[in-house]
């Protein structure tokens, strides 16, 4: 079981990810709806893994990822993206994201990616 933080501006997506991850025996230690709150929550909760939406208001997932990686170069961040965000996913991987899942994400694929990243 891992301690996971879910970051997405959509309440619905946060809830779906919580269902998937708790069903996979992981614990959700924090949720954040924008990049700034995500960075603060990362510092406070030090989760084992973060799922990070890319497109969010105020501070984007890419910016938040950069700040989290500065804070903790070992951070495990999985980006959650739409298919039209391919260039941004590449940028996120360059910044240190460990993997990504595409929306609409299935429970099985999400857990598979997260378990692979946790096992690294």
């Amino acid at each position: 079981m891992a301690r996971i933080m879910v970051v997405d501006d959509s309440h619905m997506i946060r809830k779906a990810l919580r269902l998937y991850l708790e069903g996979g025996n992981h614990e959700i230690v924090a949720e954040a709806s924008d990049g700034e709150d995500a960075v603060k929550a990362y510092a406070k909760f030090k989760p084992d893994l973060v799922t990070m939406d890319i497109a969010m208001p105020e501070m984007t997932g890419i910016e938040a990822l950069g700040l989290i990686m500065e804070m903790d170069s070992e951070a495990k961040v999985v980006m959650v993206s739409s298919i039209n965000e391919k260039d941004l996913v590449v940028k996120a991987i360059e910044l240190g994201a460990k993997s990504f899942v595409l929306k609409p994400m299935s429970r099985e694929k999400t857990l598979q990616v997260i378990d692979e990243v946790l096992a690294k």
């Binding site: 619905m12 809830k15 779906a16 298919i83 039209n84 965000e85 929306k103 299935s106």
Partner: protein
């Protein structure tokens, strides 16, 4: 208002986006076009309970608005994310519709790009505010029937 046939869609953008929508809404199978109603000059169309809008060009002038009621959105939330929208959490209906439009546009972007119709920067869908007073725009209402109810697409495109 006047009806046009699905084979007489004048805009390439509209055709590609509708194709993406039908593919997603019908589980990868494109539905019979005869079931889809297209109405031209839809300036006075009233939006359903939830709506979301996406700009189709860099200037933000051409737009698509998707509009649906919560039980329809909940059905697609279940289909796409394995989760119905619980009673009392209606804010998730707007989120669900935004995600639906985002996925439709994301899938359409590949085909639009292939045809040289690149328009996308990273834009999050906005809560729809259909401005029906714009001159020199064609407004098409496309009503897509689904198992759970109808979804409206409104295309507001320059002449």
């Amino acid at each position: 208002m006047s009806e046009v046939t699905a084979n007489n869609i004048f805009s390439e953008k509209m055709e590609i986006i509708l194709s993406s929508a039908r593919s997603l809404l019908f589980g990868g199978e494109v539905s019979n076009d005869e079931n889809i109603i297209i109405i031209k000059d839809a300036e006075n169309h009233k939006l359903r309970a939830y709506s979301s809008e996406f700009s189709l060009d860099q200037e933000g002038e051409d737009k698509v608005i998707v509009s649906a009621n919560c039980h329809v959105i909940s059905y697609f939330s279940m289909m796409l994310f394995g989760m119905e929208i619980p009673e009392g959490e209606e804010d998730m209906c707007q989120d669900g519709l935004n995600e639906l439009l985002n996925i439709i546009i994301g899938n359409a972007a590949r085909d639009l790009s292939k045809r040289g119709l690149d328009f996308l920067e990273l834009i999050t869908p906005q809560v729809g505010v259909f401005d029906n007073s714009r001159d020199s725009f064609n407004n098409y209402l496309v009503i897509v029937p689904t198992e759970s109810g109808e979804i409206d697409f409104i295309f507001s495109l320059r002449d």
